[in-house]
């Protein structure tokens, strides 16, 4: 196939267009049409060897829509199918042009954005508290009626969010336990108080790290999964389908997930504490020469209340993580991209909330002297 470049030839009374007016020659055509002024006399299109929608558009823009229309009426050498293409194109081009967006000053734009974001944030917290209320209300309504308990779904969720999370929680807290012990050995060793490394590991894991690490892992692993599961159902109109079948999506999807986390997070906290203490014990044994018997002896002297102070936070964290994960799922709109955005948002929010609540709790327990 010869690649004849598009050309414009001026004759006495008329202008002859020739060559390939196609997408492949878009740039050449553009240069050519900038150079040449639209002709006054007749225009001959019959010698154009190839014409596609891209070339036709450039032709129409150059000649102007009305001019091209007149040319099409006068022109006789043009193949009928080309004429049809140009006419179809002209019909499409004659629609009103899209409205131009008015430019706004950057200051106004910034203020608009600030206002929108603030309003969105407020609306978001409003929604969150509404959703919490909805979940609590349906939970109590179901608790009173054992016939509506969804045991299978609950057990399945416990399996996925609890049992399957044990290895990663155990490994991670084991490593953190070892790190804390090393830290204690370094700092306390300078005072010749290596033995207090055991207390450091014990207090930090019983009160804070056990539950905090388990909750953060759950936020990353499970809140995201909840959002993605419920969100893709929302995007696929499955939630609407549930509603039209007279089923309550909150009862069906949210309650088992919330209850499952309420059960699994305290258990995972226990796993985390045990595994952290094991990590500490290993470091104590290997690098501080504290035998296991002595380690356990010191642990036994730590009051139980420190463990309870840690454990009491677990259900609260679990509720927050589950509710945020599920709510973000319900906020998904339409597209798959939205599922991704809300999944990210649910992880960020739930980790933020877990750490914020933990800080408040630490302050509270300190003031109470617990």
């Amino acid at each position: 196939m010869e690649a004849a470049e598009p050309n414009i030839r001026r004759e006495k009374t008329r202008t002859v267009l020739s060559g390939q007016w196609t997408l492949a020659h878009h740039r050449l055509l553009k240069q050519l049409l900038v150079r040449e002024t639209p002709p006054e006399g007749g225009v001959v299109l019959g010698e154009i060897s190839a014409l596609d929608t891209a070339g036709a558009t450039q032709l129409a823009n150059w000649l102007g829509i009305e001019r091209l229309e007149r040319v099409l009426v006068e022109e006789e050498g043009l193949q009928p199918e080309r004429k049809a293409l140009l006419q179809t194109l002209l019909k499409a081009l004659k629609r009103e042009a899209p409205p131009k967006v008015e430019s706004v000053s950057p200051v106004i734009e910034f203020l608009t954005l600030l206002g929108q974001q603030t309003e969105q944030l407020a609306r978001h917290f409003w929604q969150l508290s509404g959703f919490v209320g909805l979940v609590l209300q349906s939970m109590f309504a179901i608790l009173l009626r054992p016939s509506r308990w969804r045991v299978t779904a609950l057990v399945n969720q416990i399996h996925q969010t609890g049992l399957n999370a044990v290895p990663i929680v155990a490994l991670l807290t084991f490593l953190v336990g070892a790190v804390v012990a090393f830290l204690g050995a370094t700092v306390l060793g300078e005072f010749g108080a290596e033995i207090y490394t055991v207390n450091l590991v014990a207090y930090s894991f019983l009160r804070e790290f056990g539950v905090l690490l388990a909750a953060i892992l759950l936020a990353g692993r499970t809140a995201s999964a909840f959002t993605a599961q419920i969100g893709s159902m929302k995007a696929n109109e499955e939630l609407d389908a549930l509603r039209t079948l007279g089923l309550n999506p909150v009862e069906l999807l949210v309650i088992p997930r919330v209850l499952a986390l309420l059960i699994t997070l305290p258990l995972l906290t226990f796993v985390a504490v045990m595994s952290g203490l094991t990590g500490g014990a290993l470091v104590a044994l290997v690098s501080l020469d504290i035998p296991l018997g002595q380690y356990l002896g010191i642990l036994a002297d730590v009051p139980l209340k420190h463990y309870l102070v840690g454990l009491v936070k677990a259900p609260i964290f679990a509720f927050v993580v589950a509710v945020i994960g599920c709510m973000e799922g319900f906020r998904v709109s339409g597209s798959a991209e939205s599922v991704g955005r809300h999944t990210t948002s649910s992880v960020v929010q739930s980790i933020f909330m877990v750490i914020l609540l933990d800080a408040i709790a630490a302050l509270f327990f300190m003031e109470m002297g617990w």
Binding site: H26, L85, T88, L89, R95, E337
Partner: protein, 258 residues
């Protein structure tokens, strides 16, 4: 009319696990024709489309596009060949993170190396050709109606002015007026650009109005591929039910009336 073969499918076998979809399927597509592909649910119409455009590697057999096997080509040449194909997927498959206009402009920027402004201007024309309202270009696919998604996807399939256009149920979800416009648009484009069209459809009106030939998929192969009239007369139970059932007859009468 000389028949130049654009696509040649020979001995195609597609199996998924134990489930065999195609066995020894042969099909030819000639330049400038509109081929309608029909078949019952699960006869592998979409699978056939996907094997032709190279998304599925067939277990056996060969698909030749413009005389070349797409799957055997080096990456650069394959991409060049793929640019000559336009595909309209059943669900539209618009990129959800781009606006409709950017969706259409993307291939123009990436392959035709147009400047963004030119590409978007041209994209706007394609959207107009596909029959979308002027403000639709700024919308994201999530906020489009089903019919608008179809039109936007068609505009993207036409972006590079392809030689062969693959359509997977293009008129499903369009209202009858939109579907009729679509048929006309298809015919206009085919006549003007010499487009070759492979159309999977259930729309009997489309089949009668737009298609030059119809290929019927049945019993894991192409049972018959011929002009609509000949296919409608073919002696097969399913085909008779399809074309000469109440809907088939109504569609045929409508075309005869014109």
């Amino acid at each position: 009319m000389s028949k130049e073969t654009v696509i040649e499918v020979s001995g195609l076998c597609n199996r998924f696990g134990r489930n065999s979809v195609h066995e020894n399927l042969d099909l030819e597509l000639y330049r400038g024709e509109i081929l309608g592909v029909v078949g019952g649910s699960g006869t592998g119409k979409s699978v056939l489309l996907r094997s032709i455009v190279g998304l599925i590697r067939p277990k056996e057999g060969e698909v030749r596009l413009f005389g070349r096997n797409l799957l055997a080509l080096p990456v650069a040449e394959r991409s060049k060949l793929e640019q000559r194909l336009g595909v309209l997927f059943q669900g539209g498959a618009l990129f959800s993170s781009l606006t409709v206009r950017e969706n259409v402009a993307l291939p123009l920027i990436e392959h035709a190396k147009l400047a963004r402004r030119d590409a978007e201007e041209l994209a706007e024309v394609k959207l107009a050709l596909a029959g979308l309202a002027p403000h639709a270009g700024d919308l994201y696919p999530a906020s489009l109606s089903g019919g608008m998604v179809k039109r936007a996807a068609l505009a993207r399939a036409l972006a590079l002015d392809p030689d062969v256009l693959f359509l997977d149920e293009p008129t499903a979800g369009l209202d009858p007026i939109g579907a009729a416009d679509f048929d006309q648009l298809l015919l206009t484009l085919r006549n003007a650009l010499g487009l070759t069209v492979f159309m999977v459809t259930h729309d009997l009106d489309s089949l009668w109005t737009a298609c030059d030939r119809i290929a019927v998929l049945s019993q894991k192969r192409v049972l018959v591929a011929d002009t609509p009239e000949n296919v409608a007369d073919y002696d097969d139970n399913w085909i008779q039910n399809y074309f000469n059932g109440p809907r088939g007859r109504a569609a045929y009468r409508a075309v005869q009336g014109n």
